[in-house]
């Protein structure tokens, strides 16, 4: 019986997946995606909408974080979808063709990813949370919020209480509260763990879908298989899917939002989806807001300078970006307004950083930090020999990177690593900072980074006989 009880966590996942699925149906640009992509976007949009909505309602309107508000918000998109369906009678799936049958490589990649995901689920169903930041920051924040039913509990708004990083954006703690409230969980029932675990397949699906836009299915499947085998994103307690760290969710929101906007002419519905996901990124971690604004800028830059005649930009080409930016800015306003009420919001950082070291630290720390970073990347326990293999593939397949999409992907991948470098330049203990955070910054950059790798893999595959690269196609 206890075994069945453990599966109750799946209801917490459905709390986000169901409204997210309705949102996907409401957004034509997402409705047209293959089903795997739709599932992934549904989950991300569900978390963004439900947790983000609760965050805003609780802070601005003092709506209690209790079941009535949680269910109302979760059911609202489904209601909207039903109303739309009744009015318009959606065309059923005529707008996207049935996918081809999977080939052996795809079956291997998806099968292996499925096995890894099942083992992650087994871990989170059986064991309580045992990570560092999850217990120190995120889940602790969630417990205080849940107890008072608000995102502004006294422990945050009154000075002197002991809470680490009290001003960290609280989207994921709010998601935890929603799940725990819905399932009426006790203090020792960590039913939110499955919510984090599900970010793992979502991350892989987003990555695979993004890779398929510009590369063959064999290349996309090979990269997805390789990435599914990496220990760090899956099982590492300091930031993987078995933890309650916010880095994997941020990687998903940032990568997926960026990919939705990365088109020469994004549809308005893609802009709404992209805006919601980037807004969620801004509410997930400190670096989320700059990353979201960066992703928006890069995507807009692509439209302006890569193929669209400038004279046509005046005719409404900016509209999708303005719409997405509006949603992201609303999230930033929420974040700033929430932080204003937290008295000692930067206290913990004052002890560990000094902005006076930024210059020339950003240059002079290179010889000190690069070997430490190399050590992290070559850690067998975290990455296996992946980065060595990836480096060789990038060198050999560099021709695959001669594409229009390479620059925006490169810029998107560079942003989290750039933020990391600035953080290390102002850190009073940069070596320790690298040790504890570099891999997580790499994870945040992973979606655009791995798509770049896929482009190189696609080029390398051309050495194989025809059947392995039959569907190679060079897109811009």
């Amino acid at each position: 019986m206890a075994g069945i009880e453990k599966l109750v966590q799946l209801a917490g996942v459905a709390l986000f997946a169901v409204p997210g699925a309705a949102l996907v149906e409401l957004l034509p640009a997402l409705r047209a995606l293959p089903w795997g992509q739709r599932l992934a976007y549904a989950y991300l949009l569900g978390v963004a909408f439900v947790a983000g909505g609760l965050y805003a309602l609780s802070h601005f309107l003092a709506v209690p974080l209790r079941v009535p508000a949680i269910l109302t918000l979760a059911l609202a998109p489904a209601g909207g979808w039903l109303a739309m369906a009744a009015r318009h009678r959606f065309p059923r799936r005529a707008d996207h063709p049935r996918g081809r049958r999977w080939n052996a490589l795809q079956i291997l990649a998806f099968g292996m990813a499925g096995v890894v995901f099942l083992s992650i689920l087994a871990e989170v169903f059986i064991n309580p949370l045992r990570d560092w930041d999850g217990r120190m920051t995120w889940a602790a924040q969630a417990r205080y919020m849940r107890a008072e039913g608000t995102v502004d509990p006294a422990v945050l708004t009154q000075p002197g209480w002991y809470l680490t990083h009290s001003w960290y954006p609280a989207l994921m703690p709010v998601a935890q509260v929603a799940v725990l409230e819905l399932l009426r969980a006790g203090d020792d029932e960590h039913f939110f763990r499955a919510v984090y675990a599900f970010f793992f397949p979502v991350w892989l699906l987003i990555l695979y879908g993004g890779a398929r836009r510009w590369a063959s299915r064999n290349a996309a499947a090979l990269t997805t298989l390789a990435v599914a085998l990496l220990p760090f994103p899956a099982i590492y307690r300091g930031g993987g899917a078995v933890s309650a760290y916010s880095d994997l969710p941020l990687a998903c929101f940032y990568g997926a939002g960026f990919l939705l906007l990365l088109a020469l002419r994004p549809r308005l519905s893609a802009a709404v989806g992209g805006g919601l996901l980037l807004a969620a990124a801004a509410l997930t971690k400190n670096e989320g807001a700059p990353l979201a604004l960066w992703a928006l800028s890069v995507a807009a830059f692509v439209s302006v300078f890569a193929g669209v005649p400038r004279r046509r930009l005046a005719g409404g080409r900016w509209r999708p970006y303005m719409l997405a930016a509006g949603i992201v800015l609303a999230a930033c306003v929420l974040l700033l307004s929430w932080r204003v009420g937290i008295p000692d919001r930067f206290e913990s950082y004052r002890e560990i950083i000094s902005w006076s070291t930024l210059w020339p630290g950003v240059i002079t720390r290179v010889p000190l930090l690069l070997p430490k970073i190399r050590l992290q990347m070559l850690s067998l326990a975290d990455w296996g020999t992946f980065w060595l293999a990836a480096f060789v593939v990038l060198l050999a397949g560099w021709r695959g990177l001669r594409r229009r999409v390479t620059l925006p992907l490169l810029l998107a991948a560079a942003a989290p690593l750039g933020i990391a470098w600035i953080a290390y330049s102002v850190s009073l203990d940069p070596v320790e900072s690298v040790r504890t955070s570099w891999n997580r910054f790499v994870l945040q950059a992973s979606v655009p980074l791995m798509i770049l790798l896929t482009l190189a893999v696609d080029d390398v595959l051309c050495v194989l006989p025809g059947r392995w690269n039959r569907d190679r196609h060079l897109r811009p």
Binding site: S119, A154, T385
Partner: protein
């Protein structure tokens, strides 16, 4: 010639990638199998039993005692018993949340005889000295805690 070199490089790169896939794939398959088997064997275990196995019986019973003593909406003074990198104060704070904590610092510094005796913040009646699992946290009255600090700073243990 260029084409041959290019093809050779690509073949080498593919081999490196394949090597990674085989090596990582076998490790991942083994690990996943182990985790799934463990989950199957523990599927019927009740959450309290799992916590006891993971955190230790003494640690858990101490946490239960703290939860019974300090009201759920109450507050306490928190002292770090071990080193910062053991994180004991974080784990105890997490276990006791939503009870609110005021942090006093590390026990070794508070009782080293050189640091002036702290003025305990008004309010909380209880002091919790936190250690990392499996060493249980210690609960005491604030007056008892001050007495211990005095004893220690005068050379007692």
């Amino acid at each position: 010639m260029t084409s041959f070199v290019g093809s050779a490089c690509r073949a080498l790169a593919l081999a490196a990638f394949a090597l990674f896939l085989v090596h990582s794939g076998s490790l991942t398959a083994l690990r996943s199998w182990r985790w799934l088997a463990q989950a199957a064997s523990l599927a019927d275990e009740k959450p309290p039993a799992i916590r006891r196995r993971q955190l230790g019986a003494r640690y858990l019973s101490a946490i239960e005692q703290l939860r019974r003593t300090i009201p759920r909406d109450g507050e306490y003074l928190l002292v770090r018993g071990g080193t910062e990198f053991e994180g004991g104060q974080y784990w105890v704070r997490f276990e006791l949340a939503p009870r609110r904590a005021r942090f006093l610092g590390s026990l070794s510094e508070l009782a080293d005889g050189r640091t002036p005796r702290p003025l305990l913040p008004a309010g909380p009646r209880w002091v919790v000295i936190a250690y990392s699992e499996p060493r249980p946290p210690v609960l005491m009255d604030r007056q008892d805690f001050l007495r211990i600090l005095d004893d220690r700073s005068h050379g007692g243990t």
